[in-house]
């Protein structure tokens, strides 16, 4: 289908542009940049900020370019005195009520408001501050904080939470000068439906939404004499960390990452991909066993903690469909303080497990009360670990890691690549692709196929489950069984798939769900900006890593094989169950009501 072309004029020059483009897009394709603040492509058209205004010949008022479609013959002026003054004034108005304490702000140097006021040369802030109501910072969530004072009411967060995640934990409340972003009755975020995904903070143009920081506790552990601090880095970190240090998006930096972690002072530098491989073995066997024993199907993946919270909140009846496997992060924590401690003969109470995750929900996951299997393990052996011992002690995001690397004075770009430590540093390409939507499914299929047929897939690249489509499906023939699978990312897509399951109409055996668009590479802890384009580049990096790995099937990971021999015995064994599996419970919102 050929799209209709329209003849338009921008600043006096004539262009041919496509029907359906907005004035902003048309100008952008003509190489003319229009500053904007609230617009979020494909997600938010609230047009609240009034920064993107332009003049249109014949219009009485200025026009918001982000939401105004072009039409034949339209004459656009992007750089008139009126336009510049209006943008200037609107920024000044936003700054009037803004704390402007950039030095103390987590968004410093990455803040769109800050950048825009610099770009537009706003130097005076003569309007007085008159915010009427004060709201305390909401720090109830283990994943993020909300600071009303810095909010410019662009509503991107509200739109993302609703349009992308279908969670609707936050809304604009009240009106006029009192308008503000609020959870139900301004109760803390933790008491709301929020699933801790952090997609809202990725799009927040200011420091109003920030991830909770745990860098302090990590440094403290590293600095403490006698403490054995092990770090695990999730698959998605290597695909994105470079962006924090000036690399193009999509540059995998596995070796550099390992080198940096070692230089920072961690005692052992491990790879979450190792437990990703382990997850595949357990989950693959769980799938096979459910199919063979007519267990609850479809089986649904459980490695994305935002998704788990979502299911517990919105689909409690379907919790039996979830795989009982812990996420790779939590399997790692448990094993580090049990198997590894025993193997290396280290006092488990002296071990600190730090995770570097692309994800804000992982902070929440590590704090789930049941995530203390190591303490349980030692108690059964007659040994009490200090009260409050967690399997994973601290979770930092990619951005926090970058802060720590900078603080250490490490010149990231000039590091020579190093390897992860053994035993938990050995992984396969299957573990790597956990970072991208469809990756867990692909990894599981590689292993399930081999388990059931005794041989590897002819082509390990299962392209059918790759890509950015919201819900993708595929079927794979394995020894006469047609295994039907689906992949969904972004919780709005997940909801769609779950509603089908709920109605008993799901044709699938196995479903992969990732909370964040694009999968973990698009997690709430990743570098900003995380546009669709950037996410796609990170995904490419993930698959190129996979192809470069000597081993690409989880069951071939020698360290995993050794782990079974030495400790777990076999998949789904009793030990596996107590160490690597977990359970879920319905989450009643607003208890007491």
């Amino acid at each position: 289908m050929t799209q209709k072309q329209l003849r338009i004029k921008i600043n006096g020059d004539t262009y041919l542009m496509y029907e359906g483009q907005s004035v902003l897009e048309a100008c952008r394709s003509a190489g003319i940049n229009i500053p904007n603040l609230c617009y979020l492509e494909g997600v938010s058209r609230r047009a609240s900020c009034g920064i993107c205004v332009v003049e249109i010949e014949g219009a009485r008022t200025l026009v918001r370019s982000c939401v105004t479609p072009i039409r034949e013959g339209i004459e656009i002026f992007t750089n008139t005195g009126r336009v510049r003054k209006a943008r200037h004034t609107n920024i000044k108005l936003l700054l009037a009520n803004h704390p402007r304490n950039c030095l103390e702000c987590d968004k410093n140097r990455q803040c769109e408001l800050q950048k825009l006021s610099d770009d537009l040369d706003v130097r005076d802030t003569s309007y007085p501050k008159i915010r009427k109501k004060h709201y305390d910072i909401d720090a109830s969530s283990p994943s993020l904080t909300r600071d009303h004072e810095k909010c410019i009411l662009c509503a991107r967060c509200v739109e993302v939470c609703s349009q992308v995640q279908s969670v609707d934990a936050i809304e604009i409340a009240e009106r006029g000068m009192e308008a503000h972003v609020s959870t139900f009755f301004n109760k803390g975020l933790d008491a709301s439906e929020c699933v801790n995904c952090g997609q809202c903070l990725l799009v927040c143009p200011t420091g109003a939404l920030m991830a909770k920081h745990e860098t302090g506790s990590v440094w403290k552990a590293i600095d403490e004499p006698g403490r054995h601090v092990v770090v695990q880095a999730a698959p998605a970190i290597r695909a994105a960390i470079g962006e924090e240090f000036g690399f193009e998006a999509g540059m995998p930096l596995t070796g550099t990452l390992a080198a940096a972690l070692r230089k920072m002072g961690f005692d052992r530098v491990f790879d979450t991909q190792f437990t990703a491989d382990l997850t595949i073995i357990e989950e693959g066997n769980e799938l096979i066993s459910r199919i063979k024993n007519k267990g609850v199907l479809p089986l649904i993946t459980s490695c994305s903690p935002g998704w788990i919270r979502f299911a517990e909140t919105f689909f409690p009846k379907l919790l039996p469909n979830l795989s009982t496997c812990k996420s790779p992060q939590q399997m790692f924590g448990t094993l580090a303080k049990t198997y590894y401690a025993e193997k290396m003969n280290i006092d488990p109470s002296k071990i600190t497990v730090v995770s570097v995750m692309p994800c804000t929900a992982k902070k929440f996951e590590a704090r789930r009360p049941e995530m203390n299997s190591a303490a349980e393990y030692w108690r059964n052996k007659g040994r009490r670990l200090p009260g409050g011992t967690r399997d994973v002690d601290s979770v930092i995001t990619t951005r926090e890691l970058a802060d720590m690397i900078r603080e250490s004075g490490i010149d990231f770009a000039r590091l020579t690549g190093e390897k992860f430590d053994e035993p938990f540093g050995i992984s396969t390409g299957a573990g790597t692709i956990f970072g991208a939507t469809g990756g867990v499914m692909e990894a599981a299929l590689r292993t399930a196929y081999a388990e059931l047929t005794g041989k590897s897939l002819k082509d390990l690249n299962l392209k059918a489950v790759r890509g950015m489509g919201g819900v993708r499906e595929a079927s794979v023939d394995i020894n006469g069984l047609t295994l039907k699978v689906a992949v969904a990312h972004g919780l709005k897509n997940a909801r769609e798939v779950m509603e089908q399951v709920s109605k008993g109409k799901s044709p699938y055996h196995f479903i992969e769900i990732m909370t964040c668009p694009g999968g973990c590479i698009g997690g709430g802890g990743q570098p900003v900006p995380a546009t669709t384009d950037v996410r796609e580049k990170r995904i490419k990096a993930v698959y190129s890593e996979d192809e470069s790995m000597p081993l690409r099937e989880s069951h071939k990971n020698p360290a995993v094989i050794a782990l079974y021999d030495e400790f777990l015995k076999e998949p789904l064994s009793g030990v596996s169950h107590s160490m690597l599996h977990t359970e879920y419970s319905r989450r009643d919102l607003y208890p007491g009501i």
Binding site: E171, A173, R175, S182, F184, F185, I593
Partner: protein
């Protein structure tokens, strides 16, 4: 009628669709004078939307209060035309009579005395609403008498 019944009856009457949210909230306010947390959560469940959305909508509208109010609600116009005709004295007279300030609720929960914007009786100002009834051309005396009708 229990609040739960009231809400499900109202949802039944208007239909369980998003577009009927406001009529349902209005029904609750008519019965209970305000929207409690419990009521809003029930409405959210009835319509299968999030409580935050219900809260967002409720707090947008001046007449969908989310804080407890008295049984009788006096809303006095605070716009300039009524002000020009002696709204101050009327407010003071009502404050004296009820022993509360504008914006407050009597301790016995009988009256809330609230300011509101123009209610469309400007030529007969000062004007006020008590519940759904309008009182205009007020003097301190007639205003107090109007309030006393509800005691």
């Amino acid at each position: 009628m229990s609040p739960e019944d009231l809400i499900s009856r109202s949802a039944e009457k208007h239909g369980r669709e998003r577009k009927n949210l406001i009529p349902i909230l209005q029904d609750i306010v008519r019965e209970n004078s305000y929207l409690s947390e419990e009521a809003m959560v029930s409405v959210a469940r009835e319509l299968d939307i999030s409580p935050a959305e219900v809260y967002g909508v409720a707090t947008f509208y001046s007449f969908l209060d989310t804080k407890p109010l008295g049984k009788n609600i006096i809303r006095i116009c605070k716009t300039i035309i009524c002000y020009m005709h002696g709204q101050d004295e009327v407010i003071r007279a009502i404050e004296d009579r009820l022993k509360i300030k504008l914006g407050e609720t009597t301790p016995d929960g009988e009256f809330s005395f609230l300011p509101t914007n123009c209610i469309g009786h400007c030529h007969k100002g000062p004007a006020m609403l008590i519940n759904d009834r309008v009182y205009s051309s007020l003097t301190p005396e007639t205003a107090v008498r109007a309030v006393e009708e509800y005691i």
